[in-house]
């Protein structure tokens, strides 16, 4: 079991970092640049892990990235990776969607505690922006998930995948829920127009302002693990899971490219604009989808 967990983390690390390399590369190509190599995120992470660290704000500051990484790894091990085999599904049966939804916000809250200890005003501003945005982001995503739970009559992800094998994919059966969840996923990935917490020209790097060296590397690594977990979750919930590694990469990459393309063409919302938008359009779409399930099945 331990072996499978380690293998899963390594898989997510590699795939997540290559995806982020592709993210930078595709963004560069769209902007008319040559762009960095696909492996650039590996180089960055290894370099940061080998850097010196002389900043100290007490132990709570250092716990922040650790709590974030904990949230990411726990989310990762609870999401079933393959639909047909039990491989890499070591502790999945211990959790359900409710646990996952809770764990997805564990990281930001832990980070908020740490950044508060650092006392950097840009960090605190970034955290406040992030948590405000979270109010808007969670609403459509949670409504969509509740809709799926009602439709499948279970909060077990494996069961939701199994239902899709006979009844058809959720993306076709419940398109409104998918649209609501995807808009909020764009925000969960920190893509424009919801890249408010770390907005480069406004609050420098937001919550990451005061982190350097190994802790920045840890934040980057957990980001890639978490990104992979979220992509697999979306694939499981709406695209019926993946039965092989090729299908997994194909499906997650399709979702990822969609998010990149949405992110690259839009500018950045202000905080209140983002919450305003998320509470209106995506929430309305998700509520309509939920109503369709409740009243028409």
């Amino acid at each position: 079991m331990i072996f499978q967990i380690i293998l899963l983390i390594m898989l997510a690390y590699v795939v997540g970092f290559i995806y982020f390399g592709l993210y930078r590369n595709i963004t560069a190509r769209i902007q008319g640049r040559y762009g960095p190599t696909v492996y650039q995120s590996f180089y960055d992470s290894i370099k940061l892990f080998s850097k010196n660290n002389t900043v100290s704000y007490g132990w709570m500051f250092y716990l922040g990235p650790v709590i974030m990484a904990t949230g990411a790894v726990l989310t990762l091990v609870l999401v079933p990776v393959f639909s047909d085999s039990d491989f890499l599904r070591s502790v999945t049966s211990q959790g359900n969607l409710f646990v996952l939804l809770y764990l997805m916000v564990l990281g930001p809250l832990g980070n908020a505690l740490a950044v508060g200890t650092g006392g950097n005003p840009f960090g605190v501003m970034g955290v406040v922006r992030g948590l405000t945005r979270l109010i808007g982001l969670e609403l459509p995503f949670y409504i969509a998930v509740v809709g799926l739970i009602i439709a499948a009559n279970s909060s077990d992800i494996v069961h939701i995948i199994d239902v899709q094998k006979t009844a058809g994919l959720n993306i076709i059966n419940h398109p409104l829920l998918f649209i609501g969840a995807m808009i909020s996923m764009v925000g969960f990935f920190g893509a424009s127009p919801f890249d408010i917490p770390g907005a480069p020209q406004e609050v420098y790097s937001g919550p990451r302002t005061e982190f350097s060296g190994k802790f920045l590397a840890l934040l980057m690594s957990q980001g890639s693990l978490f990104a992979f977990a979220k992509l697999v979750l979306i694939v499981d919930l709406f695209l019926g899971g993946a039965d092989s590694l090729v299908m997994l990469v194909l499906k997650t990459f399709t979702i990822f490219v969609a998010i990149i393309f949405i992110g690259i063409v839009y500018g950045r919302y202000k905080v209140e604009q983002a919450v305003d938008f998320l509470m209106k359009l995506p929430t309305l779409i998700a509520v309509l989808g939920l109503a369709r399930i409740v009243w028409f099945g």
Partner: protein, 211 residues
């Protein structure tokens, strides 16, 4: 004073452990690998002084695209490896630059643009401008010209990458070794008090805070 890796790119303790267990060769290979990764990923904090600041946006954006070599701009000195000083430095600016440089985490490098940081340039007889920056902070790469074009700046990046790969002695190591010399020169032009003063014991603030 900050403690850290002196003279070697990996931790000194780690090196000792490798040598004790007869794996000095492995350590060498690891060091080479780390140097290569460091050369391929350089985070830049662009400190725009003087006229050279105008050459940096084209270097980093679509036209010349420094990101293809792994050179990316970052927002804070905490995350940066390289600081680019893009022109003349007044005494007032030097104070801020020293502070920014000392906030950066080792290994850290300095690159200057133009002739002003080398010999004062057209400000050679100015009353408030630094004539030779190398006396106050250790410069790794000087890109000359008035002003250097983005191609020349990229040439400077390539030179810095080669130096990191070859493991040549970097500026921050010289700064650590000759700390008294640099501080003496800085005090001569800036007066007695330079931030950060290394008198506060940050780890024992409750016990009076004096080291």
């Amino acid at each position: 004073m900050e403690s850290g890796f002196y003279g070697s790119s990996l931790d000194g303790n780690l090196k000792c452990k490798f040598e004790e267990s007869g794996l000095a060769n492995t350590h060498e290979i690891m060091e080479k690998a780390v140097r290569w990764f460091r050369s391929r990923s350089i985070f830049v904090v662009a400190y725009g002084t003087g006229c050279g600041a105008i050459e940096m946006p084209p270097t980093f954006t679509s036209r010349y695209d420094a990101e293809r070599m792994g050179v990316v701009g970052v927002a804070t000195p905490r995350q940066a490896d390289l600081i680019i000083l893009s022109g003349y430095l007044a005494y007032k600016t030097l104070r801020r630059v020293i502070r920014t440089y000392e906030q950066m985490q080792k290994p850290r490098y300095i690159m200057t643009l133009g002739s002003c940081p080398i010999n004062g340039g057209m400000y050679w007889d100015s009353y408030n401008t630094i004539k030779k920056l190398d006396d106050y902070l250790p410069i790794d790469v000087s890109v000359t010209g008035c002003m250097p074009r983005p191609e020349a700046v990229i040439d400077g990046f390539v030179l810095l990458q080669e130096r990191i790969r070859n493991g040549e002695k970097a500026g921050w190591e010289k700064y650590d070794e000759n700390f008294e010399f640099y501080k003496e020169n800085q005090k001569r032009v800036l007066g007695g008090h330079i931030d950060p003063s290394y008198e506060t014991d940050w780890y024992n603030l409750k016990s009076g805070g004096k080291a």
